[in-house]
């Protein structure tokens, strides 16, 4: 597989795309956000696996998002996600509130080629009450009343994440972050940004192979050093809390957000 540029990844995300990205600590593809803002696709449907943060907040603030499905949007220790909160108060985006294992359950159903999987919990929550796309069904293996929630398969159009390395064939090392594999299995297309591209084939050594997402599930890999920053990348660098706090502070007002955007993505 030929490696591509981050711009080329961004260009693959079209109007109306259902776009999945991972949680803060699992390789947020921050390097792709600038190019994506330049492409400016409209009406994005974002999926946070299983929660979301800065990348979602920026895209919401930039007006590119119509809806999102995730179990939380926040800046972690830096506080709430200001553009998300503003857009929710205005009703300008539609949030499909979920719970972490329901996001995983939908992706797992897609991984398995199953129409749905079931998830315990949820019954009696307003999360369930608001999700008309989920169904409560009787457990067919129980003689007693035993309601269980069925979560339909979730097939994002595109998933994008950042990882430490890939080889020249496009095999990506994801290590323990196996939710990235599930996300890629479930998605129609997957693009990855990496810190470095290595010459050795990652599948040739059983020890590195154990942490590899094979290129069978990868549609393009782009080099992007410090590509998760200001988020951290496991085993590589810690998050830059100061940067996140600065964003959280500035984005509290629309003017501040605009200024932050012009400083960072000029």
């Amino acid at each position: 597989m030929a490696s591509i540029s981050v711009d080329e990844i961004a260009a693959e995300i079209k109007d109306g795309c259902q776009l999945a990205m991972p949680v803060d600590y699992a390789g947020v593809p921050m390097a792709m956000i600038g190019p994506l803002l330049r492409c400016a696709p409209r009406n994005l449907h974002l999926v946070g696996v299983p929660t979301a943060g800065l990348s979602f907040d920026i895209l919401i603030g930039a007006g590119l998002v119509r809806s999102l499905e995730t179990s939380a949007v926040s800046l972690g220790e830096a506080g709430g996600a200001p553009c998300f909160m503003r857009a929710m108060a205005r009703g300008s985006i539609h949030m499909k509130d979920s719970t972490c294992p329901a996001i995983h359950a939908g992706l797992m159903a897609a991984q398995k080629g199953a129409p749905f999987t079931t998830l315990r919990g949820l019954i009696g929550t307003d999360v369930l009450l608001q999700r008309s796309d989920w169904k409560v069904m009787q457990n067919p293996f129980s003689a007693e009343p035993d309601p269980v929630v069925a979560i339909p398969a979730l097939h994002p159009d595109v998933s994008v994440f950042h990882a430490p390395m890939a080889d020249r064939e496009g095999n990506v090392w994801i290590g323990r972050r196996r939710e990235l594999a599930t996300m890629a299995y479930a998605s129609r297309r997957t693009f990855v940004t990496v810190e470095r591209i290595v010459d050795r084939r990652l599948l040739d050594d059983e020890v590195t192979a154990a942490g590899v997402l094979p290129n069978l599930y990868v549609d393009g890999v782009a080099l992007a050093e410090k590509g998760a920053s200001p988020y951290g990348l496991w085993g590589e660098y810690p998050p830059d809390i100061g940067q996140l706090q600065r964003y959280a502070q500035m984005a509290r007002t629309e003017e501040g957000f605009a200024q932050w955007m012009s400083e960072v993505y000029a």
């Binding site: 949680v23 600590y25 699992a26 696996v49 299983p50 929660t51 995730t70 179990s71 939380a72 949007v73 926040s74 972690g76 220790e77 709430g80 996600a81 998300f84 909160m85 929710m88 108060a89 205005r90 009703g91 539609h94 949030m95 509130d97 979920s98 719970t99 972490c100 294992p101 329901a102 995983h104 797992m108 998830l119 315990r120 919990g121 949820l122 019954i123 009696g124 929550t125 307003d126 999360v127 369930l128 608001q130 007693e144 009343p145 035993d146 309601p147 269980v148 323990r176 972050r177 196996r178 939710e179 990235l180 594999a181 599930t182």
Partner: protein, 252 residues
């Protein structure tokens, strides 16, 4: 005069609530619960007992998971997690918690991040400890505006877990699932029953034996100030430093 700072007292109280658990998971950004779980482990090791296992999300050293962010939930579903912690923007007297927002959903007047894993873990983890330092009527309400996770369920609903206790900066309540009510057990030094009542927006029972939160034993405090603080540094360097300062200031 009390021997411990408020945060130390919270940590020691949580550690005692965790006793009996074989595996405790602690979510992200939860330094006090993490310290409590580490304290319990340190106490057990000092007593030559089988130590509790910890899965502290965000930690590399104190986290056994290798299967991505789904493993916490899988593990809970398998019955392999005995205790976990949840908070809430609102918590009501029936143990319902709200992590979503104030007012009418979806256009809530105040929007919080979201329900995270609560809508699942509250059902599957036997001992969920509700922990919220702020003790005020805006947090402890009569009825939450949005149920991220309910305190109790109908009998036919699969339910292996739920709220066990509620710890605040002012008091400790135990939860009675049969009655779907909290029962006040301890009030931290410096606070009164009248104060607790005024700060709590829901009605609660009062244990006949209610008392001031007991002082931590000196040996426990020593473990906390020694080994636990140093273990905590890996995952929560800022918090560990801050706690050290508090303890020093308090001792002066």
């Amino acid at each position: 005069m009390s021997t411990a700072t408020l945060r130390e007292r919270l940590i020691v109280t949580i550690a005692s609530l965790l006793d009996g658990a074989r595996h405790v998971a602690v979510g992200a950004s939860s330094p006090i619960p993490a310290a409590a779980a580490m304290l319990l482990r340190a106490q057990q090791e000092a007593a030559k007992q089988a130590p509790v296992r910890l899965s502290i999300l965000g930690s590399v050293k104190h986290n056994l998971f290798t299967n991505g962010s789904a493993e916490l939930f899988d593990c809970a579903g398998q019955g392999r997690i005995d205790a976990f912690f949840l908070g809430g923007g609102q918590i009501d007297g029936q143990g319902n918690i709200n992590l979503v927002g104030l007012g009418d959903y979806p256009q809530t007047s105040v929007r919080w991040p979201g329900s995270f894993g609560s809508a699942y873990l509250y059902f599957t983890v036997p001992k969920v400890i509700l922990f919220r330092e702020e003790h005020s009527p805006r947090v402890f309400v009569n009825k939450v505006d949005f149920i991220s996770a309910p305190g109790v369920s109908d009998p036919q609903v699969y339910r292996k877990g739920g709220p066990y206790a509620l710890l605040t900066g002012m008091a400790l309540f135990m939860f009675e699932p049969q009655r779907a009510r909290f029962r006040l057990l301890h009030i931290h030094p410096g606070h009164t029953l009248a104060e607790v009542k005024a700060a709590t927006g829901f009605d609660f029972d009062i244990d006949a034996q209610w008392s001031q939160t007991p002082d931590p034993a000196p040996a426990v405090l020593a473990l906390l100030r020694g080994r636990v603080l140093s273990e905590l540094h890996e995952t929560y360097p800022d918090f560990a430093q801050q706690l050290t300062k508090e303890i020093t200031a308090y001792a002066d």
